[in-house]
Symmetry: C2
């Protein structure tokens, strides 16, 4: 199953969720690939430290889908592979505008590796441009991280609009696997109010698992480790492992 | 003076800084305009509640610079005016690609209102695409908010590269007014380490004022108020007022 992690709002936990959810599912025993489609390459640095010096990256894969298998590298986590991004990707949004089949270039690549993995996650940049459209065209499902802050609901109507457009024009089978509440701070009313509001809108589509705000989660990337390796007994690691189980369950039902 | 608030990393406090710094400077007595160049329009909703139902927005101004004066609306803050954005702006990145003088459309508009204000702030989306290029081409100075988290330094080299390209090709007088440390959490080592690292790289360019992580700051947009109106004696309001003084001082020297 191919899952894109999307939300054009910045800093809501897309990369953090991609790394820690991917690890949680790999730890269960599934074969997982992560594609870093964000030019900032936060996911790549969270798993590898530095983008690899040589070899193809996701930029080369958008250029030629046949690079896909060679672009996958092992990570420190068993069963978890990564298609890294690097700074070249920053130019892709503009370069793709005039390319042939500009919205489905990633889909060609993903389809060529789909049978080698149980789950493929795609981390997206904070925009609804051509990179995110490529991810939505290639995916079976979306996961939408929502930060428990005031601006959380503002951009969702545009995201849902884009989802409908992609479904109509590029990928009729696309579904939303769920909305994930992140950086939930039990000490503030704001988190509670936002969570209630999100559940009012999206009901059962909201994952039962809530990711708490936790300093350990924000420290882990500095050691190039997912939270499960950096602080295995922390509330962040437990939450992402719970989420992994919930995602697998939903995937089997869908 | 025209100041663009830029950082392609998402969720670092660009909109929050635009609203609260703009208010701090307007409260001193200067005439201030804020341009919301982010399709998410978080700055617009922080000051107005909802994007205005009619009248030109920044999207119409990019289309025709003569709309600039009509697009400015009063806010609840004395001396503070806003050029709002709305959802139409989301299409602008792709629409601008083939437009005439695509990188300097905002500059034409800003130049037509520049003499009516002491300060003009431009809030940018989390990307280095055509909207942010327009802001950098129109600005005299940049302020770069940096969240005190691990990923903070990752994207800065690309931002500096873009700054150099804009200086060489579009705006030779562009300068960096300063780097602003935001969401500083005194309880964590991570904030301390990131702050030290940033000062090592950028020395005196880093503002002395540090913005603390504060729940009151994240609650204020829910009441469509800047922090100075929502919680005037909070550490967040005091910090942004300190920053306002520091920005005015630096502006007078530059
Ligand atoms: N549950 C959490 N608790 C505390 N900090 C968190 C949590 N999740 C993420 N963070 C931190 O918040 C910041 C933003 O998270 P992240 O980079 O994953 O968001 P993103 O949506 O991928 O951002 P972008 O829009 O720039 O791609 C990071 O510094 C990260 O370490
Ligand atoms: N000093 C602070 N303390 C606590 N929360 C903050 C602070 N500054 C900003 N926030 C909150 O963090 C979130 C991100 O801030 P903001 O939206 O201003 O960042 P941004 O860089 O404009 O994001 P984007 O990249 O999406 O445009 C918001 O929910 C905001 O309320
Ligand atoms: Mg990210
Ligand atoms: Mg913003």
């Amino acid at each position: 199953m191919v899952i894109a992690i999307v939300n054009q709002k910045g800093g809501v936990g897309k990369s953090t969720t991609t790394v820690n959810l991917g690890t949680g599912i790999a730890d269960i025993g599934y074969r997982v690939a992560i594609i870093d489609l964000d030019p900032q390459s936060n996911t790549t640095s969270s798993l590898l430290g530095k983008p690899p010096m040589d070899g193809p990256t996701v930029y080369d894969v958008l250029d030629d889908w046949k690079n896909a298998t060679n672009a996958l590298v092992r990570t420190e986590v068993e069963n978890l592979f990564l298609m890294p991004s690097n700074i070249n990707l920053a130019g892709a949004e503009i370069e793709l505008v005039s390319a042939i089949s500009r919205e489905t270039r990633l889909k060609r690549a993903v389809d060529s590796i789909r049978n080698d993995f149980d789950f493929i996650f795609v981390d997206c940049p904070p925009s609804l441009g051509l990179l995110t459209l490529n991810a939505m065209a290639a995916a079976d499902n979306l996961i939408v991280p929502i930060q428990c802050e005031y601006f959380a609901l503002e951009g969702l109507s545009k995201l849902m609009e884009t989802y409908e457009i992609v479904k109509e024009n590029l990928n009729p089978n696309l579904k939303i696997l769920g909305f994930l509440l992140t950086m939930y701070d039990t000490r503030t009313r704001l988190s509670l109010e936002v969570a209630e509001e999100v559940r009012k809108y999206f009901g059962d589509k909201v994952f039962k698992t809530i990711i708490p705000r936790s300093v350990r989660i924000s420290e882990a990337p500095g050691f190039s480790m997912p939270i499960q390796k950096f602080a295995p007994n922390s509330k962040g690691a437990i939450a992402y492992n719970e989420l992994a189980k919930e995602v697998v369950e939903r995937a089997q039902k869908s």
